[in-house]
Assembly symmetry: C2
DNA sequence: TCTTCATTATTCATATATGAATAAAATATT
DNA sequence: AATATTTTATTCATATATGAATAATGAAGA
């Protein structure tokens, strides 16, 4: 599904560029997901595992929700699936019995590592294909859009 | 949820740019959805209604799926919701009784028009804030990424 | 014509996302 | 200490997306 701008065929240059930008982003996401697929991972699963690896310790589901900027109930479900995959286990935090910790398993670690390698290859290839292009102007436009209040 | 690139804090410039690109796209989408919300529309609902308006005739669900580049079962559900909203009605195609046509209602038309106005305002504002920026280089980078096979 | 094949939409299972309502536990207030 | 509030995760309802399996209909070929 084209999530945005049903492409009414606008004349304005910025319209076409914004359409193209959204398309490029979704293209990137597709390649990213495709890179992770052989390792039994999806984008959200890899993101969660990567946060655990980066932290180097079990994280509470609330912390994970914060890191991944999403709602708690989302993490509950994601961790359900990761647990079903055997990539993560739930632990109770004995210092605060409300808290549930997600702890990455050996299997999860192995898959995260493999996924990270694939993603690195993807970014490396992308970097290669963008060689010799003026990225400064690109960054400037992005920063304008990224100013959240326009 | 950060759909992509769990932001491991890479040094490579292109990595940061790709992250920024995905972020910009999701920012745009958020504003787009926010613009449509007051008109009782979401992105997918508005996209479907807009295709019907653009066509100027009822479209089969298969045609809609093609226009919106998504799977048929997705459209079945989307049209269910649009029908529940009263924005669309289902008609049987008498020339091919397998086919179901989605036909926009007066109410749907009114909401699409209102939504289109909001989106136009959003794009107008965006175009304004990008005035004076070199969009050529931007377009070039996007076109590289949009070459689906890299 | 009758059987086979293709096409259409729907249903079902699943993944991802949000937000409201709930339950359990910790903290604060009286 | 007892009550009230806050914080934690889960459950539920819903929206959006995919893909596999199914049912109904149409088209092609024997």
């Amino acid at each position: 599904m084209n999530k945005i701008f049903p492409n009414i065929g606008s004349e304005r240059e910025t319209d076409r560029l914004m359409f193209s930008l959204v398309h490029a982003a979704s293209e990137l996401e597709k390649r990213y997901e495709a890179a992770l697929f052989p390792e039994g991972l999806t984008g959200p699963k890899f993101a969660a595992l990567s946060k655990l690896v980066l932290a180097g310790r079990p994280l509470s589901l609330g912390e994970l929700a914060g890191e991944l900027t999403c709602v708690r109930s989302n993490i509950t479900q994601l961790v359900d699936r990761l647990e079903a995959d055997g990539y993560v286990v739930r632990l109770v935090d004995e210092t605060d019995r409300r808290t549930v910790l997600a702890s990455i398993t050996e299997l999860g670690l192995a898959h995260q590592k493999a996924g990270a390698k694939r993603v690195e290859e993807l970014l490396e290839a992308l970097s290669e294909s963008l060689k010799g292009i003026d990225l400064d102007a690109f960054g400037k436009v992005l920063s304008v859009i990224n100013l959240t209040g326009t």
